[in-house]
Amino acid sequence: MSQELICITCPMGCHLTVEKVADGELSVSGNRCPRGVVYAREELFAPKRTVTATARAARACSGEAACAPSGEARLGGAPRRVPVRSTAAFPKDKVPALLEAIYALEVELPVESGKVLLADALGTGIDVIATRSIR
């Protein structure tokens, strides 16, 4: 029995046709690179997604402007969120728990892009890193 999948590894979006050959073995066609085969295997047996989100920026009070009362509309100026991502695709069923952990973070500024904010998240061996330097 064959199954149609769309590879989401990169923006190419190859249309894959996956057939189960023998026990656990897959035959994949329609992929333009070897990553399509890896994607098909993972998507069928253990789906994963890269998680991108933002964490709260804990700004140290160094002047009046930086100390605007919380809740006050403060569009523009220093960003209030630090963008983050998982360093690898994360098990799909654990994504909600990962998001909860990211939203509980408070990132001290300044921060450099690439800084590990959550090491070995939920015991997966995957880290969560900052993806923007805010100085």
């Binding site: 989401i8 990169c10 249309h15 998680v51 933002t54 960003p79 991502r85």
Partner: protein
Amino acid sequence: MKEMRFDAAVVGGGAAGMAAALEFAARGLTCAVIEREEQLGGILMQCIHNGFGLIEFNEELSGPEFAERFEEKVRKTAITPLCSTTVIEMEVEGEEKVLSCVSSGLGVIRLRAKAVVLAMGCRERNRGNIRIPGSRPAGVYTAGLAQRLVNIEGYVPGKDVVIIGSGDIGLIMARRMSWVGCKVHAVVEILPYPSGLTRNIVQCLNDFGIPLYLSHLTTNIYGKDRVEGVEITPIENGALMLEKSFKIPCDTVLLSVGLVPENELSKNMGIEINPMTNGPYVDACLMTNIPGVFACGNVLHVHDLVDFVVEEARRAGAFAAEWLAGKRGGKEVRVKAGPNVRYVSPSKVAPARDNKLYLRTLVVKNDAVLEVKLNNKIVRQVKKSHVQPSEMITLTLGQAELEAAASAPDSVLEISIQ
């Protein structure tokens, strides 16, 4: 008023602007990048999702990471970044272009340059552009504005969301809003196929069970002070099925209904705009009708990938540097969008060298053939397993295909999809 003078000025400090500027710096030319935001990076700074840089860096980065890599390169050169600075007018004065700018730090600047690269990017179409009937409550945002609010400013603009249009920003925002705890009730698309990348349908809608209504029009927005819901009407055989209309309650509407190159400055300067792309007409060197003014990135035509943007911007920068060195283009052949092709950019090719072309199809088709004809004679055929309007097609044509044009006057290159 501050006077400044450079060999080249780049308008816009996003991916295109930085990539073009680096070409000037690499050739020892002086260059300013004028950016209205407080930092370089442009729209990439709010695109916190991954998928950037696969071609450029051979890895998958988020938007800010991609921008930072270019920013670091810019900082290592003699390029002058002018941030928090807006160009309000561009004029040609003899051999020079004069850019009137307003800067929060430097006040009013008159910046003179011999060459200008336009890299202003694009703007979102909004409710007025697509004329959705209904009242005018709060809670209607363009998807990119919502993206900025959520990802940079830290505000979530609502709880129950309907997204109109299936462009990539809308799809990405469907996932983003779901991940910040909102309920996305539907994505409504007027066309029979989605306008975003296929992978985004899979990972941003299917993963969250968000219904995608294809061939559906939003026929009303309800609500007095705040959005209370939208009315959706199916389209069958080109006709609105009003008796099949239904209502979706929501407090927020996001619009992802296309992007328009931001060319107000260009038009005021007298640059001719191609109505098919809403970007300037450019020759094989990416030069507009005003000598010394070049265009690249989303201000020229809307790209799907930043990797394509920087590739094009590099060529624009390199061509502009050659132009500054006194090199003038040779013979050029007009490029025509043939059957099933929406547009081809640039609109001219040079038969003496390799030319990189970008095009968009008008149709969704499997096993399509891209056909290139020079003076009605087929010079190239490329098999495409799948084409759709949201996925840009790239093509390189060189001397091998264009040789015949060197001798024939008024040659025309036509690209079609069969």
